[in-house]
């Protein structure tokens, strides 16, 4: 609170905002690199596939400079956002759930990976009933797998649980399916 008492104190540089501005500038650099990599046939020299990328790149450079300028002038975060502390533990658990899903979806199949993600995310959000959550996650994942996926005709990676269930369902309904 010490320095902000003076009304005329110069605005402090806002680091997170500065990083965003610099990050965008880096993205513009990546756009430039990828644009230069586009081979242009002389046939399209006037309005070829690189015109729009160059316009986009120019726009991004300009915008990132404006963002950096705003960051130097104290940033743009609303006060209430700044004052709310980030709950890193909760975010970390959610992120862990996502990573677990990404890593496990191929070896274990969709349902098992989803249950693990579900439990981790619930725990991150403050639920302290992992067993109940696991059961709920299992039901939801199966609903998603059989209802949603079958209805939309999208094919989701089947794992152990799905195969068991498919076999289970398939046995009595064998003739009807298809």
């Amino acid at each position: 609170m010490g320095t902000s008492d003076h009304q005329a104190s110069p605005p402090r540089l806002a680091l997170p905002e500065l990083l965003i501005g610099v990050g965008l500038l880096a993205c513009a650099g990546a756009v430039a690199w990828q644009t230069l990599a586009i081979p242009v046939s002389p046939l399209y020299s006037k309005v070829g596939p690189t015109v729009f990328p160059y316009i986009t790149m120019a726009g991004m450079i300009l915008l990132s400079l404006l963002l950096i300028l705003a960051a130097i002038r104290g940033g743009w975060q609303p006060e209430e956002e700044k004052e709310t502390p980030t709950d890193w533990k909760a975010m970390g658990l959610v992120a862990a759930g996502l990573v677990a899903n990404l890593v496990l979806i191929q070896p274990l199949g969709f349902t098992a990976a989803s249950v693990i993600m579900f439990v981790l995310v619930c725990f991150g959000f403050g639920s302290r009933h992992p067993l109940r959550d696991a059961l709920l996650g299992l039901v939801l994942a199966l609903v998603a797998y059989f209802g949603f996926a079958e209805a939309l005709g999208v094919n989701i990676g089947a794992g152990l649980i799905e195969n068991q269930l498919n076999a289970l369902i398939g046995a009595p309904l064998g003739g009807k399916g298809g």
Partner: protein, 507 residues
């Protein structure tokens, strides 16, 4: 008369059993996701895009439109009872609606918002039916240069004019452009922005972008803000039937709201924020119960903005169906559904796809009727939905996000992209970048590029074509004013205020 016969034909399409069923499914699902915080129509329609491979175009658009309208109805329930506006368009409803609920008049607030939504939604849909053929007449005269300039105007309005900062809005838009350009250039067959990988040749699917930004990003954001404040549901008190006095105070705001909302929604600028705020300001000024605003809650402050919100949602369909110009994230995703059917949205849509367009418009009338029934007598059901605890709700959203993205390709790379976009969505949410321009830029950017290159090819590479055609010049001038005008205005205001002593209370 022409419109009426088309509409009659549309009702014939919409009244088939299957299409009625799709309408019912769409409106129910739409209300549910509107009620649930963290889920919106753009995300839901994106997740359901694979359905376009399964059913006829009429069916999926009736479903999508039902979701779109339903989410508006459901969103107001959440705003009134929970005071967490599900989307920016219902912020104003939360202002007065939640106060009404707290002072025991939640039933009347829900009723005026549902009936107002019905009135305005029906008027707005009528507006679409009658305005669309007229717009098409003009649109048929547009050349590529005019189209491009119109898209530039739409880009500026959706990203720079609406929202809190033009720089951040445009940043989102340009990020959308880059994402939209990834993949093979349709005109020359050159790969662009693929970083040499084969996976990116097909481009990035809009489903992944929408789900990443809206579902994963939102979940991460909510996790990071867990202690920020616990929402409490205001128990529903009061009769759902409005008293005669409440009817008398509601009907004018409904009509005024519809009159404000529809034209603004139908302009290539779109957006529901401006009409709702405008309607709120007008009702506050005209009301004879000014003392209720901001204290116990004024019914006019719910009726007007809710009507404006629904009428503008209908209005957004006009540029989408006649020009192929989406002005909201939801409309942009619907546009990509057209593309998935190989249908070219544009002025010819009304003639080449008459069944689809008029069936869709007719189904919107039916959707409104279904929605008012779903949202008044069955309101208790939706209130129960509000009680789903946050941990299970967000974990469930992530499960469905996985189904929707991994299911398309079965590629873990898509999941990785999804989560990276989720991280980006979190940063955008945290640092106040709007996310809708990303989706609009990604869908509309490539279309704008096509028109740009077409115009340039016709004119042999002479870029002055955009300034020589009078209509194109007008549109570009409007875009320029939209971009620079607010800044100049703010600067003048700033000067004026600093000049002579600013008298408080003269505003």
């Amino acid at each position: 008369m022409d419109t009426l016969s088309h509409l009659a034909h549309g009702f014939a399409v919409a009244f088939t059993h299957t299409n009625l069923l799709w309408c019912l499914v769409g409106t129910t699902l739409g209300t549910a996701i509107g009620v649930l915080p963290g889920l919106g129509p753009a995300l839901t329609i994106a997740l359901l895009l694979p359905i376009t491979y399964q059913v006829a175009p009429e069916a999926s658009f009736i479903l999508f439109a039902g979701i779109y309208y339903g989410a508006m109805y459901g969103g107001s329930t959440t705003s009134i009872l929970l005071n967490t506006p599900g989307e920016s368009a219902t912020i104003v409803t939360a202002l007065e609606g939640n106060r009404m609920a707290r002072s025991g008049r939640g039933g009347a607030a829900l009723a005026t918002s549902a009936i107002g939504s019905f009135v305005a939604g029906t008027l707005g849909t009528l507006g679409v039916a009658f305005l669309a053929p007229t717009v098409v007449k003009y649109a048929l005269k547009f050349g590529p240069a005019e189209y491009f300039s119109l898209m530039v105007l739409a880009f500026i309005t959706v990203s720079a004019v609406l929202g809190s900062s033009s720089v951040r809005g445009l940043t989102s838009l340009f990020v959308g452009f880059v994402v939209g350009m990834i993949g093979v250039d349709l005109q020359t067959g050159q790969p662009r922005f693929t970083f040499g990988t084969a996976e990116l040749l097909d481009g990035v699917d809009v489903i992944i972008v929408a789900v990443g930004l809206f579902a994963v990003g939102e979940t991460l954001y909510m996790a990071s803000r867990r202690y920020a404040g616990k929402d409490e549901i205001v128990p529903l008190k009061g009769s759902l039937y409005m008293t005669a006095a409440e009817w008398a105070r509601s009907w004018k705001p409904w009509l005024r709201g519809a009159a404000i909302g529809f034209p603004i929604g139908a302009m290539p600028a779109g957006g529901a924020e401006i009409p709702t705020f405008l309607s709120y300001a007008i009702e506050k000024k005209l009301s004879r119960h000014k003392e209720e605003f901001g204290t116990v809650g004024a019914i006019e402050g719910v009726a007007g903005p809710e009507a404006a919100n629904n009428a503008s949602a209908a209005g957004v369909l006009v540029p989408m169906l006649t020009l192929g110009l989406p002005t909201s994230a939801t409309a942009a995703i619907m546009l990509s559904a057209f593309q998935s059917y190989g249908i070219n949205p544009g002025p010819l849509l009304l003639t080449t796809q008459a069944n689809l367009v008029w069936g869709l418009i007719a189904s919107l009338f039916i959707a409104n009727v279904i929605l008012v029934v779903l949202n008044l007598p069955l309101i208790g059901l939706w209130v129960r939905l509000l009680k789903i605890p946050a941990p299970q709700l967000y974990a469930g959203i992530l499960v469905f996000a996985t189904v929707g993205t991994y299911g398309i390709s079965q590629s873990p790379i898509d999941l990785a992209i999804l989560y990276l976009l989720g991280a980006a969505g979190f940063l955008m949410r945290r640092f106040d970048f709007p996310t809708a321009p990303v989706i609009i830029g990604m869908i509309l950017g490539p279309l704008a590029e096509t028109q740009f290159r077409r115009a340039m090819t016709i004119e042999n590479g002479d870029w002055t074509v955009f300034f020589r055609h009078p209509l194109s010049l007008t549109l570009l001038t409007l875009a320029f004013i939209g971009l620079v005008g607010p800044h100049i205005w703010a600067w003048i205001e700033h000067r004026r205020r600093r000049g002579p002593e600013h008298v408080p209370g003269d505003a």
